[in-house]
């Protein structure tokens, strides 16, 4: 027992809880009490951040809004920010980033996703994911947000699913007289316009000026003609989100007019990983980059360059050589199977049976 002077009950209680928790951990070893609690209360405070899909609504034929109840560790978000969602598709966990489109503060969050061709996750979310599903979440991040106070004049320049972070901003505009907002949005056809009804209502209510461009008939937006569509564009702070082509064009356009400071750009996929044959292997731990061909196991290539790497059976069965791939692509020399890590991923790979396919960054 301790000789310490008695403390107020409020100070003793956390200590008691702490003690009980330590005891629970010692009895649960080698797993943690959390591993038991996760079965009954996966969304509790202090747990790894997760969320449960509570509703799904189709926006267009190939896009849907998912409403997610985040766990109690959720710290909230600023409109325009995005989250990374980890969802199991066919048993395999995939992480993707999506803009938040929800109204802040009602206890749920929502994302809107468009199914892209061959998109494993987007197709799953739009067509397969069901309410009730538990997903992994990261806290909201992103600099693509409106400042306080709001600028007097705003131009939102969006295309396709690039409307999503802007929708998040529009839904959270203060009531009453707001800034002068023009939204110039491109989509292939009227049926492809996400949130068409809601945007129409905002325009009808005078909250925004909406210019919608249907590119299948009207052609792609040419920024050289911006004067005709938004005559006062030079006076506006601009937020741009859409395909890379639009972002590049906008950056060139505003920089060309000496107005780069007015431009705010959201790029979702800073690098696109295209698998190739052989390439550069970067060992982040030892800060060494080497060239390797597509037939040499990464382990051998690294050792040939003089690195000391974890190794084991050298035939793919013992998993003693597993390291984390931060980004890049590798090819399994036994099966030809390609594993791709997008920036932000942390994929464990076996170095003894994989060769570099393009390039890869490894924590080794």
């Amino acid at each position: 027992m301790t000789a310490a002077p008695p403390r107020p009950a409020s100070a003793r209680r956390p200590q008691l809880i702490n003690g009980v928790w330590k005891l629970a951990a010692a009895i649960a070893t080698p797993v943690l009490p959390e591993d038991y609690l996760d079965f009954v209360a996966p969304l509790r405070a202090g747990a790894d951040l997760r969320g449960r899909i509570v509703a799904k609504r189709l926006e267009t034929a190939d896009s849907a809004t998912l409403t997610i109840k985040p766990g109690r560790s959720w710290r909230g978000h600023v409109p325009g920010q995005y989250i990374r969602i980890g969802i199991d598709v066919d048993g395999v966990r995939h992480w993707r980033a999506y803009s938040l489109t929800s109204v802040v503060g009602d206890g749920t969050i929502s994302i809107t996703t468009k199914a892209i061709p061959d998109g494993i996750v987007s197709n799953h979310l739009v067509r397969e994911a069901q309410p009730g599903t538990l997903v992994m979440l990261d806290q909201a991040i992103g600099e693509f947000v409106l400042p306080t106070p709001l600028p007097a004049k705003i131009l939102f320049l969006t295309a396709g699913s690039g409307i999503t972070p802007v929708m998040g901003m529009l839904r959270n505009l203060p009531t009453g007289v707001g800034p002068d907002i023009t939204l110039l949005h491109s989509a292939p056809t009227p049926a492809d316009v996400m949130f068409a009804g809601e945007l129409g209502a905002l325009a009808a209510g005078g909250r925004i000026r909406l210019v919608t461009r249907h590119t299948d008939t009207a052609g792609m937006l040419d920024l050289a003609t911006l004067d005709e569509q938004v005559p006062d564009w030079r006076e506006r702070q601009v937020w741009v989100c859409g395909p890379t082509g639009l972002l590049d064009a906008a950056e060139a356009h505003w920089a060309g007019h000496g107005l780069a400071d007015a431009l705010h750009v959201e790029r979702f996929r800073p690098t696109i990983i295209e698998p190739g044959e052989g390439g550069e292997i970067t060992f982040l731990g030892s800060e060494v980059t080497i060239d390797a061909d597509g037939a040499t196991p990464i382990l051998d290539a690294g050792e040939d360059a003089g690195l000391l790497l974890k190794s084991g059976c050298r035939m793919g069965i013992c998993f003693g050589c597993v390291v984390t791939m931060r980004q890049g692509a590798v090819r399994d020399l036994r099966t030809g199977e390609i594993t791709v890590a997008e920036p932000g991923d942390e994929l464990p790979i076996q170095t003894c049976i994989n060769a570099v396919a393009g390039s890869c960054d490894l924590e080794a």
């Binding site: 069965i317 998993f319 099966t335």
Partner: protein
């Protein structure tokens, strides 16, 4: 814009110091690596001479040509690909369900044992905890640590993060089991699993006086199997016997491993033999007894399953030099001939962690265990086609065969003109005369 760090334009190998420690033995490293890499793909290899083994028994590879062996390799690669390509949500749901059942069973049993002064509660809790510990070690722990579920990319169910309810720390076990045992399966002198350095389970293993007691050692090892495995992962006996010959670095590694293991054992013992009984209050002693019993039950069961995997009659062992430059096909063949199955119900398969499909597991150690049953008929057919013996039988029959063999091999092989007992008497006489030759210089397995 890229998130990748700046890449150097020229390969960095020129900047590596030629005095780096691993470069000191390049020839050894190179040779070793290129030998082992022949196991990456089928094809290649050449006809080899298959000499009979020391004991005079035939070489198990002798009946097949190189082309036949590589053909088998290609068929096995195809079987593997079919299953691995079809892993999906059902498999993921399976392992999560097993984990959920295990956790429920474990916590439920431990709660029931809080009242273990009551005999019914004691019995129910002990049975439940025994089953929970078996599930945890076999169908979950062993298989997760094999990387069978790494493909799900769930960091909670991953070979790099998992630890299990057993004396041996996961990292050490992965080295001695996944790497050494699975690569060098049944290779005399290379695979320490052949008797765990304790038992003589093959005529081609050298006999020592120590083996006279192995019918007893075997039973003790079974009861305290988790500690046996821990000592085995440390290579305790070999390291202590050769302590003076170890390099300083090897000594450091051994000490670090020992420290890690003692820490793990302390935690395990604290849980089962101090804290859980303490929380049980007046049921302190019954709970302690229940936990001890559950650990013994788990130990005996896992030992039984594992000895049935490689020691029953009809399973082959291999000479050390038979694996020089081994191809993937030859490695596959060695796994098939060096392993044996247990037949039984679906419940038996789950409680053995599907090591009842030991042959399938040794062919594809990273295949999810719930899929072994479906490929089993294909493996049997493939082996039958090549007139290879697919060893299988009920668990009691297989375990009895092993025990019989352990008793038989506790005596030396018969030598021409000398009975087994006269060899024993000779060795005993040496010890009695104090020369002690019988106790030294046993062939110790070399490790990589």
């Amino acid at each position: 814009m890229t998130l990748a760090p700046e890449r150097t334009s020229s390969p960095a190998r020129t900047s590596i110091s030629p005095t780096a420690p691993h470069v000191s033995e390049p020839t050894h490293l190179e040779a070793e690596r290129h030998t082992l890499n022949t196991r990456l793909s089928v094809g290649g290899g050449s006809e080899r001479e298959h000499l009979p083994k020391k004991s005079g028994r035939p070489n198990p590879f002798g009946r097949l040509t190189n082309a036949e062996i590589e053909g088998i390799g290609r068929e096995l690669d195809a079987i593997r690909a079919e299953v691995m390509d079809s892993r999906g949500a059902r498999d993921a749901a399976y392992i999560r369900r097993v984990i959920k059942v295990q956790r429920g069973l474990e916590i439920g049993s431990r709660v029931v044992l809080l009242f273990s002064r009551n005999k019914v509660a004691w019995a129910a809790g002990t049975v439940g905890l025994s089953l929970a510990k078996i599930l945890e070690n076999m169908e979950i722990g062993h298989n997760v640590l094999h990387g069978q579920w790494d493909w799900m990319r769930d960091p909670k169910i991953h070979s790099t993060t998992w630890d299990w309810d057993m004396a041996s720390p996961a990292k050490q076990w992965k080295h001695s089991h996944n790497e050494l045992h699975h690569t060098y399966t049944n290779v005399l002198g290379r695979d320490n699993d052949l008797g765990y350095g304790l038992l003589r389970v093959d005529e081609d293993q050298e006999w020592q006086l120590f083996h006279l007691g192995q019918p007893i050692w075997h039973l003790i090892n079974a009861m305290f199997f988790e500690y046996g495995i821990a000592a085995y992962d440390l290579e305790l006996r070999g390291n202590l016997q050769n302590w003076n010959e170890l390099s300083d670095k090897d000594k450091e590694v051994f000490k670090a491993n020992l420290h890690e293991m003692l820490g793990k054992i302390r935690k395990q013992a604290l849980k089962d033999y101090v804290l859980h009984p303490l929380v049980s209050g007046p049921s302190f002693l019954p709970t302690l007894a229940a936990n001890f019993t559950a650990n013994i039950v788990r130990n005996v069961w896992s030992n039984t399953v594992i000895i049935c995997g490689h020691f029953p009659d009809g399973i082959d062992t291999f000479e050390t030099d038979s694996i020089d430059g081994e191809t993937r096909g030859e490695w596959y063949l060695r796994q098939m001939l060096g392993s044996g199955n247990i037949s039984g119900s679906k419940f038996t398969h789950i409680m053995t962690g599907n090591l009842s499909h030991q042959i399938e597991h040794h062919l594809f150690p990273d295949m999810p265990s719930n899929r072994y049953a479906e490929i089993s008929p294909k493996i049997q057919a493939l082996m039958a086609k090549h007139d290879l013996h697919y060893v299988t039988g009920p668990v009691l029959k297989q375990a009895y065969q092993v025990y019989r063999k352990v008793c038989r091999l506790s005596l030396p092989n018969e030598e021409p003109g000398r009975s087994r007992w006269s060899v024993v008497r000779g060795e005993l006489a040496k010890v009695v005369r104090g020369k002690g030759e019988a106790r030294t210089k046993r062939h110790l397995p070399s490790t990589v």
